[in-house]
């Protein structure tokens, strides 16, 4: 009976919402911008799932309502783009250059580093598109023979990492131009980077959302070609 309650959809939805609200609360109280709400919410949810023996796949399935909203959310970024259309058109050359460079660096760096560390070739193809938004990343890695689960987790960790350290790292590198910050966040860390870029400012958020989409398209074109060229 207890397990039935704890495995019910409302309970599992509440777990996600509660952990997120707690994460936001901790971040606001602590005044540490680096403390991404995800970083607090994820360990809480993992702990609850393990303690009460809830199947992760059942949890994910029960939370489809939340996950589904990612689609409309990406569509809604169209309004953010519209609000900043003048700025985007003026910086189109810079944004396009960044996306082309980013997609090539993304694939080549993964392949070279995997070989340098002697990782299995499966990691190489599964991670080649890890800087890209999840649905595109899966569509790129599957035909190359990648493993969908490794791709998904790599994409998520890449996003989370960029979302947490991105703004501080960019400041450290001396990259302060809001367009450059937005382009870097969206190109390297897709949607999670964009979510963080929106918090940095409206310009950063708009450029990040645009770069997330463009990076997906550019990587889809570039990855199969580069993988073929880099094949051993």
């Amino acid at each position: 009976m207890f397990s039935e309650i704890i495995n019910s959809v409302p309970f599992l939805l509440l777990l996600t919402l509660g952990a997120y609200i707690f994460g936001v609360w901790v971040r606001t109280r602590s005044h540490i911008a680096m403390l991404n709400p995800m970083l607090i919410a994820i360990p809480i949810i993992i702990a609850v799932l393990l303690v009460f023996d809830i199947e992760p796949s059942h949890y994910i399935e029960s939370n489809r309502l939340i996950t589904f909203m990612l689609g409309p959310c990406v569509v809604a970024l169209g309004l953010t783009l519209y609000d900043h259309r003048v700025m985007i058109v003026r910086n189109l050359a810079a944004i396009a250059t960044a996306v082309v460079v980013g997609s090539v660096v993304g694939v080549v760096s993964v392949v070279l580093m995997c070989r340098w560390l002697n990782l299995d070739a499966l990691f190489e193809v599964s991670m080649a598109a890890k800087s890209v938004t999840l649905p595109i990343a899966l569509d790129i890695s599957q035909p190359l023979g990648g493993n969908a689960a490794i791709t998904a987790v790599s994409v998520a960790v890449c996003g989370l990492f960029g979302g947490i350290v991105g703004p501080s790292l960019l400041r450290l590198l001396g990259i302060r131009n809001p367009v450059a910050v937005g382009a870097a966040m969206g190109s390297a860390s897709h949607g999670i980077g964009t979510a963080r870029a929106i918090e940095e400012g409206a310009v950063q958020g708009a450029v990040s959302g645009l770069c997330m989409g463009l990076m997906g398209v550019a990587t889809a074109v570039v990855a199969p070609l580069l993988m073929q060229w880099l094949a051993r």
Binding site: L17, Y20, M38, A41, I45, I46, L49, P56, I60, I66, T67, M69, L70, G71, C73, V74, V75, A76, L77, G78, L79, T80, L81, Y82, R90, N91, I95, T97, A98, V101, V105, G106, S109, M113, L119, M127, S131, D139, A149, A152, S154, A156, V157, C158, F161, L170, I175, N177, P178, V179, A180, A183, A184, S187, T194, I198, V203, G205, V217, A220
Partner: protein, 125 residues
């Protein structure tokens, strides 16, 4: 009613994007195409920005929440990755830094070139 109306417009563009995605063989996901189509419709004044602003703001300002459930897949995948988790993590983190630096510096570089050529390169903030 305004919220439902706004959500309906966003969903309509999502559906349109999805249909287009299927037509081009899933080369680009429907949500990204929906974003581009919505942007185009706003520019052409087919949709008024105010009709969707409330819903769009609600969705985009809580974007991080929407990623949380998917992330739990890591529990199931861990067995596969754990054999060389340190190398895997190093690749993910360092290459993310590489992409971030490469894209950030690309924008700064193009901006610098433009300023050197004497054109105004400022942005609207």
């Amino acid at each position: 009613m305004k919220v439902i109306h706004g959500f309906c417009i966003i969903m309509a563009f999502y559906a349109l994007g999805e249909a287009l995605s299927i037509l081009i063989g899933h080369f680009v996901p429907g949500s990204v195409l929906g974003m581009v189509l919505l942007f185009a419709a706003l520019c052409l004044r087919w949709v008024s920005p105010e009709s969707i602003r409330e819903v769009a703001h609600f969705l985009t300002s809580n974007m991080i929440l929407l990623f949380i459930p998917t992330f739990m897949g890591i529990i199931d995948t861990w067995g596969l990755i754990s054999v060389s988790w340190l190398g895997w993590l190093a690749v993910v983190l360092l290459t993310t830094v590489a992409v971030m630096a490469a894209t950030g510096y690309s924008v700064e570089f193009v901006e610098l070139m433009r300023r050197m050529m004497g054109r105004k390169g400022d942005i609207d903030c």
